[in-house]
Structure formats: structure tokens, C-alpha cells
């Protein structure tokens, strides 16, 4: 459905990533993990077709539902009007959204539990609320590939749960291929079938999320000790071990 073959992106002389292979079909969900500056956003933008590849190939459908990481303050429209823009492909050059387009936009907002934002102005929402509205816009495009750049970065815990359950449902319907980047390994463990760890420019670990995201691999990825633990019998948690000022792990 969407894939990269030997892909690489270069900025000037410096490679951001190289030799990256990736395939994702419908009903599958892939999480991209890596520390700051390792090229997650570059990879996401290349997948979305916003950045040209310096080498390798990309195969993707025309239509992609895309949620960017930072969403401008300068969008002075009502949220419902923002979501309905997701229908742009169905609206001609000289057209405006119809009643049916608005109904689809309301349904998409309802799907992400965001109907209460419909009449509020997008630029007056908090960052997390904007991400939810943007997810609705990605859904209303009807695209079968969804690409989300750190969709949870500004969400509180309840909204993280909401986001994960929406993505979980979309994956379960078997029609969508979902690809997201995240700084929260737990999210990957929770809903992703596969994980891609960006260890270095040419070094990528990819495979079933549960088997790739070992304590050792995650520690290598982030440079701090990380534990995986069962909590309350069924929930698996990923616990980073943060150090205190003296450099020893708190007990």
C-alpha cells in the first residue's frame, strides 16, 4: 500500500537516512521511534511525498491522510470549516463544500470525539485539541493511508487514550494502513504491529513491535536504561529510568 525501497534523504552533503526499506499494507500499523534529530519527521515527510528522495523509490497512493507535527497558529477558521477542507479532492477548482461534505466532516469529528470543537476557532484551541481536529481532517479525506507525525505530542493522558483507541479502531477495520512517529514507546507497544527504530543514518531495526522493542534495543536507541514491565497482570509498561542530579538511578 505504501512503501520505500532503498530510500535515502540528503540535506546538502549530509545524509539524514539511507538504505531504508519499508512496506505497510492495509490493516497494519507501524510506529517510528528515534531520538530527537534522528530524522523521524524527515522520514514522515518523505513518506508523505513532501520531500523528494535522494535515492531509492517510494510507492504510495495519491491520497494520504496526513497530520503534521506543528500545526499553525494562523488558521483563523472554525474547526468544522477546517475539517471540511479534508474533502478538497472531491471539490472542483471553483467549487465550495456541499452539505454532504459538511455532514462527512461532522461524522469525522464525532469519530474522534471532537464535535464540541465544531464551532470553535481553530487558532484558539490548545495544541492537543488541534491535533484531534487535524486527525478528523485526515479521516474525512477518505484516504486509506494515514501518516501522523507525533500525533500524541501535545495530548494529555485522556486524549492519548482517545487517540490510541481511534487508531486501534481504524486498524481493526482492515482498510487503513497507519504510520505514526512517537516518543512514547508505550504507544507503539499498545497499537503498532511493527516498529521501526532509527538507530543511525544507515542503521534501522524493523520488525514486529513486541520483538523489536526489547529493553536492550530501546536502551541503545535512547541512550538511557529502559525497562519493560507487566503492570496489573495484563498491561505492559515501558519505563525509562531517569537519573537524578548526582547521576544515580532513584530507587
Amino acid at each position: 500500500m505504501i512503501g520505500l525501497n532503498g530510500a535515502g534523504v540528503r540535506r546538502g552533503e549530509r545524509w539524514i537516512f539511507r538504505h531504508l526499506d519499508l512496506q505497510l499494507g492495509p490493516g497494519r500499523c507501524l510506529a517510528v521511534l528515534g531520538p530527537n534529530g534522528r530524522g523521524k519527521t524527515t522520514l514522515i515527510r518523505a513518506l508523505a511525498g513532501l520531500l523528494p528522495l535522494a535515492e531509492g523509490e517510494r510507492s504510495a497512493p495519491q491520497e494520504i491522510g496526513y497530520v503534521a507535527q506543528s500545526i499553525g497558529d494562523s488558521v483563523p477558521y472554525r474547526c468544522l470549516d477546517v475539517v471540511v477542507m479534508g474533502r478538497a479532492r472531491r471539490i472542483g477548482l471553483f467549487g465550495s463544500p456541499s452539505r454532504a461534505d459538511y455532514r462527512a466532516a461532522e461524522d469525522a469529528l464525532a469519530q474522534v470525539d471532537g464535535l464540541r470543537f465544531a464551532d470553535r476557532f481553530f487558532n484558539r484551541l490548545s495544541g492537543g485539541e488541534r491535533q484531534i481536529v487535524m486527525l478528523a481532517r485526515a479521516l474525512v479525506t477518505g484516504a486509506e493511508v494515514l501518516i501522523l507525525d507525533e500525533p500524541a505530542s501535545a495530548l494529555d493522558l485522556a486524549n492519548q487514550a482517545l487517540l490510541l483507541s481511534v487508531l486501534h479502531q481504524l486498524r481493526a477495520d482492515g482498510r487503513h494502513a497507519i504510520l505514526f512517529s512517537t516518543h512514547l514507546p508505550q504507544h507503539a507497544l499498545c497499537i503498532a504491529d511493527e516498529a521501526l527504530l532509527m538507530l543511525g543514518v544507515e542503521e534501522h531495526l524493523q520488525g514486529a513491535a513486541d520483538t523489536v522493542m526489547t529493553e536492550a534495543n530501546l536502551a541503545r536507541l535512547y541512550g538511557i536504561p529502559i525497562h519493560r514491565a507487566r503492570v496489573a497482570g495484563t498491561v505492559e509498561a515501558v519505563v525509562p529510568v531517569f537519573l537524578d542530579g548526582v547521576g544515580t538511578a532513584r530507587s
Binding site: 515527510r45 494562523s74 477558521y77 472554525r78 478538497a88 479532492r89 465550495s96 455532514r103 461532522e106
Partner: protein
């Protein structure tokens, strides 16, 4: 069944309430424009009462005509002198304001005016050269229009790198091309005869509708209308473009093509306005801000609202220009004198609002 009807009413409430609210505002603005037209028909050194002016106009439109209880001088002044000028001022004001609103959206920058594309500088040069060469009338208009179009073409060619042109590149290129053409206008003025062509160039550049008769109006208005209609038809596209390049592209917008389509329509309007009436600044900058304050930022309503308000505003300015003193005050001077303080107040108001939130 229940579900779909619930969805219907839900949809109906939000979308419908917004729609009626909007059309009411537009109707009020259209009424203000018509009222301003009547005032402009009546005002002047030879004043005509509104009733007489309306009956003179009605007599032309109604199939049976009306019994004339007015003098033939009154009729000539209303129909032949003021009417074409009123229509020209309204069309130019509407065109400039609508172009300003469209460009502010596309560039995502509220300080952009239609002059940013270099078109008005180009058209100025064309007009100045025409006057320098002793060409007037249709030749002046034609040369001015062609030079305006050439300026946009130049901006387009310079701003395109590898088949793409970023918004910032277009703005900067527009500034460069404007500067170049302005320098050439100065050169034309330097070369002009200080007794005849120099004052002609200077007055023409300051803008005036004094030359607007039916011939000019019937030539200019349809072109402005055509450019305006293209922009109005693309009002939802302008919303999409105002999201920024990446967002718009991911939503399936052909950003480059749509943007240049709007630029071309703006150039058509701007070059027409400048070639017929000289450079009229500030309308395209100030009026969209005013409209935004009243109707919000959604271009589906901002574009028509700007057009209606721009028409009324320039008509008001032109009426002041020709009635305030015995000599006509140049339009470009008045729009700046009125526009700059209004703009400053608007900016302060907006800043206050934002700080209050």
C-alpha cells in the same frame, strides 16, 4: 432513519445559522454600496436631489419610461457625467479590495496589498512612457495594461526555481521588480518636458476618475468583473491555500497552478484599474482588514464582503475628491490620508483584542 434525521437537524442548525447570518451582512453591505451610489450621483457642484436622480435612472431602466419633471441639464449630468464615473469608482474599489483579500490569504500575510506583485509599478511605467511619447486615450490604457502584465510575467519567471516558487520568493521578487519599474518611472519623469508631460505623468500617477466616461467604464468594468469572478469562484481554494503549502498539497491542492491562476486574475484587475485611473493605494490593504473585522477570515464570505465594502469606500473617497474643493484632489493622496490612520487604528484594535484574550 432516526439517526440520519438527527444528523440532518444537527447539520442544519450549525451550517444554516452561519449561512443566514452571513447573507444578512452581505445584503447590508450591498445596500450601503447602493446608497453610496445614490449619494455620489447627487453630490457635486451642481447638486441633484436623490428623488430626481433615482427617477432619471429609473426612466432609463423602466420599459415605459417616466414623465420627465427634470431639466435636460440634470439628466445629462446624472447619466453622462456622474453615472459612468460612479460605476467606474465602484468597480475599481471592489476589484482592488477583493484582490487584496485574496492575496492576503494566499500569502498568509495581512500586510500584503495587490501592489506586491509588481503589477501596479509595471502599469505605472507603461502609462508614464505613453504620456512621454504623447500617446493618450486607448494607447495609454493599452500600453499601461501590457506593461502591468509584463511585470507579473517577469516576477513569475524570476521567482520560479526548478518549476516551483515559494511564497517568500514571490514577495521578494515582487519587491525587486517594483523597485526596478519605479526607478524607470522616475527616469521617465526626469526625461519629461517640465511644462507639459511631467505634470501630466505626475497627475496620472496620483490617480483620478475624472476621465471616466461611458466608453472607459464599459471597457474597464467587464474586465474587472471577469477577474473578480475568477477570484470569487476560487474563494474556497484560497481558504485551502491559506493553510500553507504542505497542508494544501497533502489535501490534494495543486498549489503552484492555483496560486498563479489567482495571481493572473489579480494582475488582470490591477492592471485594468491602474491603466484607467492611475495608482490608487491603500484600498486593497485596508478594506480587507475592515471586512475581516466584520465577517471573519473565511474567504467564502470575506471575498464578497471586501468587494462590496471596497466599492462603497472608493466611491466615498472619489465623491470627497471631486466635491471637497473646487479642484479635484488626487485619489491616491486621499486614499492614503484616510487609509493610513484607519489602518493604524485597526492594528491597535486588533493588538488590544489579542492581548485581552
Amino acid at each position: 432513519m432516526t439517526v440520519s434525521s438527527a444528523a440532518d437537524s444537527r447539520d442544519g442548525v450549525t451550517a444554516h445559522a452561519a449561512a443566514t447570518n452571513r447573507s444578512w451582512l452581505l445584503v447590508a453591505m450591498a445596500a450601503a454600496l447602493v446608497a453610496m451610489m445614490v449619494v455620489a450621483l447627487c453630490a457635486g457642484r451642481f447638486s441633484v436631489t436623490p428623488g430626481t436622480a433615482l427617477r432619471i435612472v429609473a426612466a432609463q431602466i423602466l420599459p415605459g419610461g417616466l414623465e420627465a419633471d427634470w431639466s435636460s441639464l440634470q439628466e445629462r449630468i446624472v447619466l453622462l457625467v456622474r453615472m459612468p464615473r460612479v460605476l467606474m469608482a465602484a468597480a475599481c474599489g471592489a476589484g482592488l479590495a477583493l484582490c487584496g483579500a485574496a492575496l492576503q490569504g494566499v500569502f498568509r500575510n495581512p500586510l500584503v496589498s495587490p501592489h506586491i506583485l509588481g503589477v501596479s509599478s509595471g502599469a505605472s511605467l507603461g502609462g508614464a512612457v505613453a504620456i512621454l511619447l504623447g500617446v493618450s486615450g486607448a494607447g495609454l490604457v493599452g500600453l499601461s495594461f501590457l506593461a502591468g502584465a509584463a511585470a507579473l510575467l517577469l516576477v513569475g519567471l524570476l521567482a520560479r526555481i526548478d518549476g516551483r516558487s515559494g511564497v517568500v520568493t514571490v514577495v521578494l521578487t515582487g519587491v525587486v521588480v517594483s523597485a526596478l519599474f519605479s526607478a524607470l518611472v522616475s527616469m521617465a519623469q526626469f526625461l519629461a518636458d517640465p511644462d507639459s508631460s511631467l505634470p501630466a505623468i505626475v497627475f496620472w500617477l496620483m490617480g483620478s476618475f475624472a476621465a471616466a466616461g461611458w466608453r472607459q467604464t464599459l471597457l474597464a468594468a467587464p474586465v474587472i468583473l471577469a477577474g473578480g469572478l475568477v477570484i470569487w469562484a476560487m474563494r474556497f481554494r484560497i481558504n485551502l491555500l491559506s493553510l500553507g503549502e504542505d497542508d494544501a498539497r497533502m489535501l490534494g491542492v495543486r498549489v503552484e497552478r492555483d496560486r498563479w491562476l489567482i495571481f493572473a486574475a489579480v494582475a488582470l484587475v490591477e492592471a485594468t484599474v491602474v491603466s484607467f485611473s492611475g495608482v490608487i493605494g491603500w484600498v486593497g490593504l485596508v478594506v480587507p482588514h475592515f471586512a475581516r473585522l466584520l465577517v471573519g477570515s473565511d474567504h467564502r464570505i470575506l471575498i464578497p464582503a471586501s468587494a462590496l465594502m471596497g466599492g462603497a469606500y472608493l466611491l466615498l473617497i472619489d465623491t470627497i475628491a471631486r466635491t471637497a474643493t473646487t479642484a479635484e484632489i488626487p485619489l491616491g493622496v486621499l486614499t492614503a490620508i484616510v487609509g493610513a490612520p484607519i489602518f493604524a487604528l485597526l492594528l491597535r484594535q486588533r493588538q488590544k483584542q489579542e492581548m485581552g484574550e
